[in-house]
Symmetry: C2
Subunit: 329 residues, 2 copies
């Protein structure tokens, strides 16, 4: 295992402490139980957004804590759900009187633990489930996984909460964004979980894992490694089948790297995706290219398309000041 | 070779076109000869900063084009100097009447080609050489290489040019920043140049390349893979020996990833570096953690320390709006 690490036991906390020190102007870090919360003051009555999940997907979610996005994030161990006490402590710490909206990626452990925390919480609250991964059918197992589209949900709903939307309006908007968002990824290599010390799965030199999850879960199929344009056309066709975008539709196009793929390749993928959807006369109104929902050191990427309406576009453009996304301030 | 690519021939241009489309609000892209220029209008008489170098280090330099930083960047082929016609065309395109400052990383091809362009240029101009890599002695070969400290130089001098500093003042400030900056890197893996199709060098499972350059050049020594804290202490000692920072000195601490190392590890490295320099009573006034000066898909990182004075700190904090760095606007 070739990683920057001291011990497996200290890996997460050392990284979180470094994150908190590097962004001490934006976040506070509570080590016990672990959560990251925003430093920017919030108006009384603002809905507080609390998210979280297993670590290894940085900057998601800790890098999205701050003005205009999340109020708190609860990092679990690598690829492991955070515990209810983290969520409960985070929610109590960032309550501004407008209630708590939990934003939960659809994984069994996360869903269960956020439910337990919600039951214990003595503050008005609701939950929003993100399930944007269209690589598998909707009716399979516990449903679709939440992946890179989570960034769109957290940004747009975060701006709404900052603008004074109430809890029900934040949740309704979030469900609209989830419904309008579809993602799918592809892995060129496995990732290596520190505690395991070796790749989670093996991929041959000429193979790729199409529809992979952000924990290295198997997806649609293992395929022969394709060209960038073949890969994009394959993924985009699945997204098109799901969202059925009409010509002229304004969209947000997100190319997300899995942590081991550099920008030079992600921009090449963006060029292919831009071609695909321009040919179908979509209005690519906004874009986001970079490593945002990662899978440790995995080489690979995902495409996310969000069908925008005017409200979503305005909220996407609203000021945000987090470690990973910043504009307008 | 596991990369997102169509053909070796089109790799760079497809990536640049994608970059330009994803950031069409910030940059224009000239395909022939290749350069990226800022869209934001500049005041008449503003010094124009033009940089460039081989591709494969993204977001450097194209991601640093925009308000408060570079006026133009000239990307060469992967790990290959851009040509004088690119630099000449870029300089002519972004001339605002205040002269041109070429910012050049110290590599033989870059230095030679920027010199040729400068000789052909019929506009007042000067050049600033960046040579922040302290892994090798100053008097060796053509001197030290320019690596991740280039970001500090381009940001601080970019803010000065935006604020109305003249050509001589921009150059003098830039030399002061170069003098106050020291960097050193370590590779855990090689990178793979598309045209070569295989790793540039081999590193065993238990080895690392200490003092590596951003093109995979050998550095100080090949060593047994150390813990994160051992690696940081080794690099930091070399930087301390060079800069000899005094207790209480305000510094900017930059942890830079080489493209294949995810944020979770870079933040862990930052924690170690913060510990090292806090123990020596430095004032870590600003920080930057992420993949900024990359080496394609190499796993590894570098540390950069810049000794700040009040002027540099003010210019670092000034508004910047580029693809890779944005704050204050």
């Amino acid at each position: 295992m070739k990683k920057f690490i001291n011990t497996v036991e200290d890996f997460l906390d050392e990284s979180l402490r470094g994150f908190a020190k590097a962004h001490a102007d934006i976040v506070d870090f509570s080590p016990e139980p672990r959560f990251v919360s925003r430093k920017a003051p919030a108006k009384a009555g603002k809905v507080a957004l609390v998210s979280g999940g297993g670590s290894g997907h940085e900057p998601l979610h800790t890098g999205f804590v701050g003005l205009g996005m999340l109020d708190a994030a609860c990092p679990g161990q690598v690829f492991t759900s955070p515990t209810p006490d983290q969520m409960l402590a985070a929610a109590q710490a960032v309550d501004h009187g407008g209630g708590i909206l939990f934003i939960v990626k659809n994984y069994a452990g996360d869903v269960m633990n956020f439910e337990i925390a919600a039951e214990m919480l003595d503050i008005p609250h609701d939950s929003l489930l993100v399930h944007d991964d269209v690589s598998l059918p909707e009716n399979r197992g516990m449903g679709r996984r939440g992946i890179a589209g989570t960034t769109m949900v957290e940004k747009i709903v975060g701006a709404a909460a900052e603008a004074g939307y109430d809890l029900a309006a934040c949740k309704a908007l979030g469900e609209r964004v989830v419904h309008a968002t579809a993602s799918m990824g592809v892995a060129l290599t496995s990732c290596t979980v520190p505690a395991l010390g070796k790749p989670m799965f093996e991929l041959g030199e000429g193979e790729m894992e199409m529809g992979v999850g952000i924990h290295g879960e198997r997806g649609r199929e293992r395929m022969a490694l394709g060209s960038a344009s073949e890969i994009v056309d394959y993924i985009a066709a699945v997204i098109d089948e799901e969202l059925k975008p009409q010509a002229g539709q304004p969209v947000l196009l997100h190319v997300n790297g899995f942590g081991g793929t550099p920008l030079i390749e992600l921009h090449l993928i963006y060029e292919q995706a831009h071609r695909h959807w321009s040919e179908r006369s979509l209005d690519i109104a906004r874009s986001l290219v970079g490593n945002f929902t990662t899978s440790l050191d995995m080489a690979g990427c995902s495409l996310t398309l969000t069908l925008l309406d005017e409200e979503m576009l305005r909220l996407w453009d609203a000021p945000v000041h987090t470690a990973a996304l910043r504009w307008g301030c």
